[in-house]
Symmetry: C2
Amino acid sequence: MSYPYRVTRNDEEPVGLDALDRVTWALRRTELAVQTLKEQRLRPLGMAAAHYTLLISVHAEPGLTGAELARRLNVTPQAIASLVARLESRGQLERREHPRHRHIQELHLTDAGREALRAADAVIVGIERRITDGLGSETARLRALLDQVAEAVREG
Amino acid sequence: MSYPYRVTRNDEEPVGLDALDRVTWALRRTELAVQTLKEQRLRPLGMAAAHYTLLISVHAEPGLTGAELARRLNVTPQAIASLVARLESRGQLERREHPRHRHIQELHLTDAGREALRAADAVIVGIERRITDGLGSETARLRALLDQVAEAVREG
DNA sequence: TCAGGAGTATCAAGTGTTTGACAGCTGCCC
DNA sequence: GGGCAGCTGTCAAACACTTGATACTCCTGA
């Protein structure tokens, strides 16, 4: 009644075999494939996808704090601290003191960081373009549907 | 030329600020939200999403080997071994000797495993239904678009 | 004025996964 | 037959992230 399932000898087949066709599986597979390709293409630049994500976030909102960044990226502050430490040691990221709050530290890109981000973003844009070229005018539709799914799930 | 970017003093703004609007970001956000909800709803059953994924894979293709499973789920064989060990210790999964190959071990669900999978799948189906209800007739469209993206990315 | 709440950063321990290396079994080809 | 590629499973170390706990800073309100 609830969903189609294969009929065996008796009615015992509680779990459908169509599980691999579900929307959430397609979602997972696709996201995994995209992420894998990004990682693959970014590796020659010596940058992990997580590094790129952090850099472009700071680029979009300079002065972001670690905790705020953690919320944006859905990870814990410690994970951010680890990434920041690495990027800082490479001279791509800078921790400045907050003007009003001594304990808080703002994050800013250095020139080297901007340069690295630029190179990485070219790679990402290339991937993005390949996808949108394939989709054509359906791109906006896909994004709308994805947002709708995210919305439906979030109010849980 | 390639994509719109904000103009500053000079033409120096190599990285677009529209990065958060890209399709791959929407994809990532949505997948993350779905996965988080699954994890949340599965926790009361004492099962992680990874366990569910493994169980239903074995259910769909009984006798699967660990290595083959690793390829299916895009993780390393060690990760599978870790999950299998846990599920086996719970009596939900069984390792049998391959009929022709002594060193290889086939994976099969036990009755307890089928029962646990059934309970977990009810939860997952509930989530799936909430999504498809929200999408209505657009569900098939979304799946087609996702598959198209996966295809476009995979031939890289 | 100063005690407490809110927010941030960081240390320590535990968990899960990957990377690298290695041994066992089978089947093929010389 | 014997060597050798190919695949599987597993051990050890490294790595990334989370959970739990603690300290620091600012702000607010009694």
